[in-house]
Amino acid sequence: MGADNVAYDDEPGDCGGGSVTVTAQAPPDVMPIFVSLPSLLSDTQQSMQTASPPAVREAGAGVPPPKSGTKQTFNQCMAANASNFSLVGTVDKVFGTSLRNTFLGGLLGGNSITGSLYGSADDNVQTAISNTPEILTRSMGTVTTYGRRTADIMALNLAGKGGLPQALGTSGGALRGAIGTAGKILGLGLSFEQRLAVDAAFTAAEAAYCVAVTQ
């Protein structure tokens, strides 16, 4: 109360490229008003300086904006919370650390799925190399389109641009071979898939959260 500028923003570490900042500037001619509150806090009455609501009008209707500011879209929510819904983000929340802001902490515990699907525009292009080599290799040749007569459908049911099916569809033969070979040479095997499964679980949790928030 009493602030002329009202900013709605995420936490400093949460801005994932999709954070929303709404600043409402009160006009200079708005006079502050003084409200005398009843003695709920103490025996003596206290005066509290407040300002009128920001004079933001939508289409001339004179309706003040909603308290939560501009509503986030699903994609914006996913991008903004990508660092929270990850292994290292959870560790930071639980133990009060800030490992996700360091290079190696972010790389070891970052969520590769949301990092590639809901990062910057460059990250969306990177979808093809940000997924497990085994999954990519297996996915080659499988049906990745929706349709009545397709029996084998593989899709990541998340809204947004990019995503696994499109990336696979545009992957060249050289890329497929390189990633498949790299996966075999590295011998990452099951532990890699399980590490990716953890990220998938975090992504699902984040998606559920963002669906709840944006509705």
Binding site: L87, T102, F103, G106, G115, L186, R195
Partner: protein, 173 residues
């Protein structure tokens, strides 16, 4: 014949969570102890729990290191492409740092790939704890990222060159 005991799928997922819980306990404990000048009982308790947990479960988290390093290498490639830390567009990462980290992390993934099916003796455990310590130091500040990753690769190389310990009688084949 393989010296391999198949573990349930969820056990390996639990091992991944366990590794990061160990990081969290020790890093959080160190942070509290350093912030409050050694007077933080919670900090010391977190440190003790973290060290005990790390020592006691080295057989579990040691086997999932290839996956952790492998995905970190792919995250480093994403970082190399985008120029910022994965999930953190406000944290820029120099391209040469991302490239070096990608090479080191893929090397670590390759060198640790044998750990999933290997028995550990005391020397192996000591080296794995050294890997853990180096990772923790490397995760504590950006200037330690490359030296720490180099130390991790060095420890894993020694571990890779060590002869396999004697086979246990109760292993499944």
């Amino acid at each position: 014949m393989q010296e391999r005991r198949e573990e349930p799928w969820f056990a390996k997922v639990g091992s991944i969570l366990l590794l990061f819980a160990c990081f969290g306990f020790i890093a959080g404990g160190m942070l509290r102890v350093s912030r409050e000048g050694g007077a933080s009982a919670v900090g010391w308790m977190m440190l003790v729990v973290g060290f005990v947990l790390t020592f006691a479960t080295v057989n579990l988290w040691g086997r999932i290191l290839p996956g952790v390093f492998g995905l970190a290498g792919i995250n480093a490639l994403t970082t190399l492409w985008s120029g910022h830390l994965i999930n953190q567009p406000n944290v820029p990462v120099p391209r040469h740092v991302a490239l070096i980290l990608a090479v080191l992390l893929f090397s670590a993934a390759f060198l640790s790939s044998h750990l999933a099916i290997r028995q550990f003796n005391a020397v192996h455990r000591v080296l794995l704890l050294a890997v853990f310590s180096c990772l923790l130091i490397a995760m504590s500040a950006n200037q330690f990222a490359i030296p720490g990753a180099v130390a991790v690769v060095a420890c894993l190389f020694v571990l890779w060159r060590l002869p396999a310990p004697h086979r246990r009688n109760n292993t499944q084949v």
